[in-house]
């Protein structure tokens, strides 16, 4: 017969100082793990929100990002009229030639914040209908004006409307804030292609092109078509896949974080073990009494193991609460491809489940040996203990 759980719960309450301290230690361990998972998850969510499966990024063969790619105007003419590219409201193909470069916001604050600058033509905006202005207005063609993503505007003083950003040969005025729907656009600066490429002396050699396919099937065919075209010598990849690949930049952070969490877990399970050994020693007479009442060694072992799991589950719950309350939605940034990308920590139910499972495992590992010791006590010795 099993010993009622209420017995374990009451015991945890009676020894509240020890319970709280052990549980808090476990809570911190779980919170650390959750922080890392939420960070990587937020990064992934931001990057996957950036990609549209119908949009295709065309880069110079061998280039793995828009930043290191370069694309000549002449090649663009060959690309533009390929079959499968959707047409825009003006009847022209939805193909956008772009310059992607880096600007430093530090000109104002003297800190090193690099941001991605994307220079595009009106067609580039037309094929990204989810991007819209939330305050101010769009930049005007032919003016030294830019708009900034909303995450940049939130995090950096220099990215406010009316402020100047240094790029190329001069200062550019920020005239609006755009919302890209949670994608990497929210951390970008956008401006007019001709104005920016002239300023950077890159009129002929631009960075990359983005084209929009009519539907999913043509998108695949179009990608193959571009990849196999020896004339333009380009590689094409769907925007979704392009951003998925960038997620790799989160892998080292995740690995380091998981390593830290595991080391902390080892430390915490030793602490849980300590607490449980003390519990077994103090309740020696109780264990003897339970045995006299007819509870088997097996159920005593189970009971102590359960107590340890309950203890660490309590810690796990506190840790999850900490993570959800303090971290969820907290925005931060990482460098992706030499420029910062802002994103929010995301604590999802799956992550909370992982955290609780982690706590339970930790508690079970810490409780196993003390529980076995409790089960092996001889009745008479146990009853005689002071």
């Amino acid at each position: 017969m099993a010993i009622p759980i209420a017995y374990n719960l009451r015991n945890l309450v009676v020894r509240k100082t020890t319970t709280i301290m052990t549980a808090l230690g476990i809570a911190l361990t779980v919170a650390t793990l959750l922080a890392i998972l939420a960070l990587v998850n937020g990064l992934r969510a931001t990057l996957s929100a950036s990609g549209d499966p119908l949009r295709i990024v065309v880069l110079r063969q061998g280039a793995d990002s828009e930043l290191v790619s370069n694309f000549q105007r002449a090649q663009f003419q060959d690309l533009k009229y390929k079959p499968g590219i959707a047409t825009g409201s003006d009847g022209l193909p939805l193909a956008s030639l772009e310059v992607v470069t880096i600007a430093n916001l530090g000109a104002v604050e003297d800190s090193d914040i690099n941001v991605n600058v994307r220079a595009l033509l009106p067609v580039g905006r037309e094929m990204r209908p989810n991007v819209h202005i939330v305050s101010g207005r769009w930049y005007r063609a032919g003016q030294r004006e830019v708009v900034v993503g909303k995450m940049l505007a939130q995090q950096h003083r220099s990215a406010h409307i009316g402020n100047r950003i240094r790029l190329g040969r001069g200062d550019w005025v920020c005239v609006g804030v755009m919302d890209g729907g949670g994608g990497s656009t929210d951390s970008e600066v956008w401006g007019d292609l001709n104005q920016i490429s002239a300023d950077l002396q890159r009129l002929e050699i631009l960075s990359s092109a983005t084209v929009k396919a009519t539907d999913a099937v043509t998108a695949k065919a179009l990608i193959n078509d571009i990849n196999n075209d020896q004339r333009i010598n380009m590689t094409a990849v769907s925007e979704k896949e392009y951003y998925d690949r960038q997620t790799d930049s989160g892998v080292p952070i995740r690995d380091v974080g998981i390593f830290v969490a595991i080391v902390m877990a080892v430390g915490s399970s030793f602490a849980a073990m300590n607490t449980m050994y003390a519990a077994v020693a103090r309740r020696s007479r109780e264990i003897g009494t339970l045995r006299v009442l007819g509870f088997s060694p097996g159920s005593i072992m189970l009971s102590f193991l359960l107590e340890s799991v309950l203890l660490s589950l309590l810690g796990g719950i506190v840790g999850c609460l900490l993570a959800v309350l303090l971290l969820n939605g907290y925005s931060t940034q990482v460098g992706a491809n030499f420029a910062t990308m802002a994103f929010e920590f995301r604590v999802t139910p799956e992550i909370v489940a992982v955290g609780l499972a982690f706590a339970v495992t930790l508690g079970a590992a810490g409780g196993l040996l003390p529980a076995r010791m409790a089960a092996r006590k001889e009745i008479l010795d146990a009853l005689r203990a002071v």
């Binding site: 230690g25 061998g62 430093n104 030793f270 073990m273 030499f338």
Partner: protein, 385 residues
């Protein structure tokens, strides 16, 4: 001090608990040790003498934005500058890029200046001459040669990405460096020939060797002032700051390190406090006896604080030693290339770890110790727990 034997005896009484506590603190402390060592290495450590005489000039905007090659002559004229080597980060893809072994750093440089600016590289004279003679020659660090089993005369095909094209290099030299040497250098002329007309004449950065480390701040300032009103402004920094800047592209490293340390220190504090609370509770009667024998409240306080310190310092020491071992392993990963060379035992790091451990021991046992020292004798003796 007179009570040290008594403190040690007390520690050793509940052996299992002491061992578990020391192990728990040790494991956490080893994490702290690694974090502190990294923090120290990145932000506080003094560079090795051979690194201290080097500065790196890059575009103020970012290392991904180029500088005109013509800056070299201007930099060369600045007092205190001995040698200037232009360099382009070449990147490229060597064989299968998914194999991390193939992802070593590759630079296109001024081959004639390479071994002057990097004076610490050791290479046989005949290999150096062979490297200088041939345009498509390259030299690789010992680490690359070992991990890819390359030897002199081997060919290395590399596909360019930042600089498009198919390149083939011949290994003409293998050099040794006191630091991790997962790097390859080749002559920038070879690269320049493959470039389109418009891209020629731009380099990624300049490595400079200066006459005296004491002048580095003045020289860096002089260079940045020189180009202040040019199209491409420069940022000149020590090689160490440059590599840390490279790493910080991954994210806010400083914040990350501080957050981990805070979580670790707090966890240890809880573990240690818990242990001390448990042992004091078990010994209430004994404390009554000690007081009857004439131990003053201050002595009792000292006994308990001392016990906590001994335990946490033991944990701290073990943790530090494990972390020193771990750092050795970290230095062997590609990540280690960013770290300055770390001696096996670094005194400031060791001192920081042990001082933290001692402080944690004191703080964690303050409450139970104060309680015990204030406890009236009669009540203590009457306790049945």
């Amino acid at each position: 001090m007179r009570y040290l034997p008594l403190i040690l005896k007390n520690c050793w009484r509940n052996r299992r608990r002491t061992i578990l506590t020391v192990a728990s603190i040790g494991v956490s402390m080893c994490l702290l040790g690694v974090v502190v060592a990294m923090y120290h290495g990145f932000y506080m450590g003094a560079p090795a003498p051979d690194q201290a005489v080097r500065l790196v000039v890059r575009n103020r905007i970012s290392i991904a934005v180029a500088l005109p090659l013509a800056y070299r002559d201007t930099i060369q004229r600045i007092p205190g500058v001995r040698n200037v080597m232009y360099a382009n980060y070449f990147q490229g893809v060597y064989k299968d890029a998914r194999n991390p072994k193939n992802q070593f750093a590759r630079f296109a440089v001024d081959s004639g200046e390479l071994f002057k600016v990097f004076g610490e590289f050791r290479i046989p004279e005949d290999q150096k001459q062979a490297f200088l003679r041939q345009r498509s020659a390259c030299v690789i660090g010992r680490d690359v040669a070992d991990s890819l089993h390359l030897k002199l005369g081997d060919r290395m095909p590399i596909k360019g990405d930042i600089f498009p094209g198919d390149f083939e290099f011949t290994v003409r030299g293998i050099f040794d460096s006191p630091r991790p040497s997962g790097v390859m250098y080749f002559d920038r002329e070879y690269l320049e020939q493959s470039m389109s007309e418009r891209r020629r004449g731009f380099v990624g950065m300049f490595y400079i060797r200066i006459d005296d480390p004491a002048h580095s701040a003045r020289i860096a300032q002089a260079i940045d002032d020189e180009f202040h009103s040019s199209t491409a402004q420069t940022k000149t920094e020590s090689e160490q700051a440059f590599t840390v800047g490279f790493l910080s592209l991954l994210g806010n490293v400083k914040m990350f390190l501080i957050a981990i340390s805070a979580a670790v220190v707090f966890t240890i504090l809880l573990v240690s406090a818990n242990t001390m609370a448990m042992s004091v509770r078990e010994r209430v009667r004994e404390i009554g006896v000690l007081k009857t024998l004439g131990f003053t409240p201050a002595a009792v306080l000292g006994l308990i604080l001392g016990e906590a310190c001994v335990i946490s310092v033991a944990g701290g020491l073990i943790g530090y030693l494990i972390s020193a071992l771990l750092m050795r392993m970290v230095a062997r990963t590609p990540f280690g290339g960013f770290l300055p060379t770390l001696p096996a035992i670094e005194l400031p790091v060791a001192a920081a770890c042990i001082a933290t451990a001692a402080a944690i021991g004191l703080v964690s046992s303050l409450v139970p110790a104060a309680g015990a020292s204030r406890l009236p004798i009669v009540e203590a003796l009457r306790s049945s727990d």
